[in-house]
């Protein structure tokens, strides 16, 4: 267990000391939100995107953040100084707070900011990963909630299917993995990611916003058959950057290797991170 410093509500303390009373709505009802970003070489990546999403998740889940975005950034800066971890992952969590009856949403929430060492590979991981699909639609999907019940529950399913992760689809449409967005490249060279009822990832957003990439990149819903028939597929997330998907449900995507367009998009993404 790490002994890094954590920010809890208004104080900096050791991870080993950081606890919540059992009346918190996360413990009682699984209720809360979070966001997660990386630091590379001491620099937070896409911090404004993550802060914006954090406040949006909070607001849409009826939770109140006591700090302004500027105050939050200042706390994050101090946490980074104390931990001195240039390459790290920083998680900002806002739990439901201490509830009198373990059900009603209290006016005050609990804020937790943790930092752990994290080195993101700075090259395209050409070996890629394999996915197994599962029928599921995330609830309250536009907000980054604490609800990963299905993801945690499916850990044995992933193992049984000898896959690296699970991919959700619902009503015939491909959605997302528990912690990443999926893109496919069609045989016509179109780059697509799911549009409806998903969490809008920050890397996803930055790929969609690439200018002058030379590719046709867009968000639209697509089917599992389109994924099976794609020429390339890859995941995007803060910890993965871009990660090739080589097999889904045992079927090779394209030629079963990391794709050419995937590699080019990865280079363009790295330009935005450096």
């Amino acid at each position: 267990m790490s002994t890094n410093t954590v920010f809890l509500n208004d104080t900096f303390i050791g991870t080993d000391q950081a606890s919540l009373l059992i009346t918190d709505l996360s413990i009682q009802r699984g209720y809360g939100i979070f966001d997660f970003f990386k630091t590379v070489n001491g620099q937070p990546i896409f911090l404004d995107d993550h802060i914006e999403r954090f406040y949006n998740s909070a607001k849409n889940m009826h939770l109140h953040v006591s700090q302004s975005p500027a105050e939050l950034k200042k706390i994050i800066g101090e946490l980074m100084q104390r931990n001195n971890l240039p390459d790290s992952g920083i998680k900002i969590t806002l739990t439901g707070g201490y509830s009198e009856d373990a059900y009603a949403l209290p006016p005050t929430q609990n804020l937790i900011i943790t930092q752990v060492p994290l080195i993101i590979p700075q090259g395209l991981q050409a070996e890629g990963i394999t996915l197994a699909t599962y029928v599921y639609q995330r609830q309250l999907s536009a907000m980054k909630t604490l609800d990963y019940s299905m993801a945690i529950w499916l850990q044995p399913f992933i193992e049984e299917n000898k896959a690296d992760d699970v991919l959700y689809h619902f009503n015939g449409l491909v959605k997302e993995t528990p912690r990443a967005n999926l893109f496919i490249v069609t045989h016509e060279g179109e780059v697509i990611t799911a549009k409806s009822d998903i969490l809008s990832g920050v890397i996803r957003k930055n790929i969609l916003n690439l200018e002058d990439s030379g590719f046709q990149i867009s968000a639209r819903d697509f089917t599992l058959a389109e994924l099976y028939n794609a020429s390339e597929a890859f995941l995007t997330s803060t910890t993965k950057n871009i990660l090739p998907v080589l097999k889904v449900d045992g079927k090779e995507i394209g030629n079963g290797k990391a794709g050419r367009i995937t590699a080019q998009l990865y280079t363009l993404l790295l330009d935005k991170i450096r």
Copy 2:
């Protein structure tokens, strides 16, 4: 805040002292299960049903209970002695446990048993309640998980609709409220509760198992239209026993008063509790 005694993993401590480290999977991912039963006059009600469901929920959610059912009952007995609350609600919670990476399910879970004062009305609450409906299917619905994200999130919706609670329906079929099962009585006198993709409540089970009630009581799926057209409707739960539903979405059920068959079933239920 109550200062009752709580059982946490292996010790009895005050509620104010009972806390979990922030690495627990309930705080990180909303993962865990629980069960809840009442004591009336110092006697736990339907304890075996609740214990059985607790172990089933744990097993199906890949969680491990360190104690045997007999050991758990012994701990509950000691907790009741210490708190000396003859009429109470006792909640047994099993959280995901302390996870190294805030995602993988650890081999050991955290057990929390709390007791709070609770007096259940011993007469049919003839004033009843009103419900507002919402399209939703609970995930992992057969297990009593900590996931009440939708229920907590809908608290403002319930207020806006001037209702007492929300009723879920999905694909045209009535399901349940966040913390209770729903029964309807048809104009033919048939007593029905939803069958598919719901949590099987202990009071629901005991109503379904009533023998020689003289009523035709069964579990089968029914539509929202059938509810609107029912002659009676009521909720069942540990804290509600039987609670008449007088209005749904502003429409009166039957004559908008607690029904005759509802009252008779309530009497039969009380016979099992006393």
